[in-house]
């Protein structure tokens, strides 16, 4: 089974968010980057488990600049066999999806696993776009994935509940909580990652369907109004008459 896992790089959740260049660029100064949690904990680890059970390979792919290499190496340390980086800084999800689709078309995979969304731009776009570009079925927000031969049984979150479905390979899936448990890379994995292949592929030129014009920080929250613990009715009174929400 040939598995492709799409990984993106995201600022560590504790990062301070600030912008430069007149609020048009994210200030990466002092920011620690991680693999986007959904990609790492769920898509990558479940891909590795399936490979370990059924044989095959796990390739990770990232659209990004050379500054992403340490993040990509981490996914090799967790257990991916090889990595591909498409050498362009994605500013638009559709453009990034097209870059991945080009590579996937040429190389043929039985399944493509993505995270359900990135925690920085919170797009929830690339998985569905990839499926459409490759004309493959898309299973969004999957929380379980099991394989028997070429048939996948998948549990996914839908509006108002869960659904269990079957689909034949090839398909594209976006992974949510429940797929697997996070793995911490061990020393052997980290050593092995150094010699695993990380191929750099030059991008194809596509127009950007969207672009970020500017960023804005939310207005600072006013001071918290502290109330006495003895009289919670006061809270309800304020919620009704001041905040006007109950």
């Amino acid at each position: 089974m040939k598995i492709l896992v799409c990984i993106s790089k995201a600022p560590d959740t504790t990062s301070k968010i600030a912008f430069t260049d007149n609020n048009t660029a994210f200030d990466t100064n002092g920011v620690q980057f991680i693999i986007n949690p959904y990609d790492e904990w769920y898509a990558l680890v479940r891909g590795l488990e399936l490979k370990e059970a059924n044989g095959g390979s796990v390739t990770v792919i990232n659209v990004g600049g050379a500054e992403n290499d340490p993040t990509i190496r981490k996914s090799l340390a967790i257990g991916a066999d090889d990595a591909v980086r498409i050498n362009t800084n994605p500013t638009d999800a559709l453009n990034a999806a097209k870059q991945i689709a080009e590579y996937a078309k040429e190389n043929g995979f039985d399944m493509i696993l993505c995270g359900k969304e990135t925690i920085d731009y919170n797009g929830s776009q690339i998985g569905g776009m990839l499926a459409a570009l490759l004309d493959q079925p898309f299973v969004s927000n999957a929380s379980k994935l099991d394989m028997a031969g070429n048939t996948a049984t998948i549990e996914r979150d839908i509006q108002g509940g869960k659904e269990i479905l079957e689909v034949e390979t090839p398909f594209v899936l976006s992974a949510a909580k429940g797929m697997s448990e996070a793995r911490i890379p061990n020393m052997r994995g980290i050593m092995a990652a150094r010699s695993k292949p990380l191929k750099v592929v030059e991008p194809t030129a596509f127009d950007n369907a969207t672009e970020i014009a500017s960023y804005e920080l939310p207005a600072a929250k006013g001071a918290c109004k502290m109330l006495s613990a003895d009289n919670p009715a006061e809270l309800l009174d304020l919620l009704r008459n001041e905040a006007k929400i109950i």
């Binding site: 968010i17 925690i119 459409a132 429940g178 969207t210 970020i212 804005e216 109950i246």
Partner: protein, 320 residues
């Protein structure tokens, strides 16, 4: 020209977020001068009600395969309607339906998609859409360059506006290829009030010490007509079901009121709730970080404060 809105359904009912999306489309139409068409796929009760929130026309598309959730087929039906109605702006709700369908449609139409809008698009000159990024810690203004523009709206982000229009209904039976997704079964949540749709959410964390203490949280929720939620360790320890877990790795919500009991306010928790309109924090520790993000705070023991709150709420008879 027309603005086309996908009005999603669940359990054969028009979803709350669909009304929001239609109202968003109608408010946008006031700026652009377009008409508003809502598209409903599959069986649904009471589809006329979409006129109330601003649909001029309702396109009701039927096909047997719509009994299951089939994003690729839904995208195809919307694509056909968009072509037939000359729609250059397509609106979704940024809920589980929109997240699955909108990207497929965007790639097929080669259209720019902005997910999770929190305001109406700015249409003076460029078409730019404001959305939350970095888990609610900032906003981005995203410019759409393509002729066809697709926007999904964050649930509960904008006030629904009523228009009370009488919409015409157009029934369309579509031919579709057989889906490659074979749905085996569905488990719909029995909870009457799904967390992401609730206007009020009462949430509790590790400060409650054990699952046996959630009775008072449920009672408070009942009195307020609220849904219940929890922090991640609470769901990890199986004190509460996983679908209640809010935060970075759980669900993100933006209710009008979020009441956090015995939750410290870790940044990963805040990421899922900091878009709530009003936040109330109840915690024994005056230095708990959550107070910095709160509007109202009570430093006190949950086991004393919450029962009193339940009593006070009962006296106000809020749930009616």
């Amino acid at each position: 020209m027309s603005i086309l809105v996908y009005a999603n359904t669940a359990n054969n009912k028009i979803h709350k977020s669909a009304y929001e999306a239609v109202s968003y489309g109608a408010q946008l139409a006031e700026k652009t001068g377009d008409s508003v068409s809502a598209i409903v796929v599959g069986n649904a009760e009471n589809i006329d009600s979409l006129g109330q929130y601003g649909a001029d026309k309702i396109i009701h598309v039927t096909n047997d395969q719509f009994n299951d959730f089939q994003p690729s087929l839904i995208a195809e039906a919307i694509h056909k309607s968009a072509d037939a109605n000359n729609s250059s702006i397509i609106i979704f709700s940024h809920d589980l339906s929109g997240k699955a369908v909108a990207p497929i449609l965007a790639a097929r139409m080669n259209a720019g998609l902005v997910t999770g809008a929190v305001e109406l698009p700015n249409t003076d000159g460029d078409f730019t859409v404001k959305k939350a990024v970095f888990s609610g810690k900032a906003y981005a203004h995203v410019k759409v360059n393509t002729n066809t523009k697709i926007v999904s709206v964050t649930p509960n982000a904008l006030e629904k506006k009523e228009y009370n229009k009488t919409a015409t209904v157009e029934n369309v039976a579509v031919e579709l290829p057989t889906s490659r997704l074979k749905v085996l079964s569905q488990k719909m949540e029995s909870t009457e009030l799904p967390l992401t749709e609730a206007d009020i959410v009462v949430s509790a964390g590790r400060g409650l010490k054990g699952p046996e203490n959630w009775g008072m949280i449920e009672e408070l929720a009942k009195e307020l007509g609220a849904a219940t939620a929890c922090s991640r360790p609470v769901s990890d320890m199986d004190w509460r079901p996983h679908h209640e877990h809010v935060g970075q790795t759980g669900v993100a919500i933006r209710p009008n009121l979020y009441i956090a009991v015995g939750i410290s306010g870790a940044i990963q928790h805040l990421a899922g709730v900091n878009q709530s309109k009003v936040i109330v924090v109840i915690n024994t520790d005056a230095d708990a970080p959550f107070f910095k993000s709160a509007d109202y705070g009570i430093v006190g023991d949950a086991f004393e404060v919450v029962p009193k709150l339940v009593e006070a709420a009962r006296a106000m008879n809020l749930s009616n």
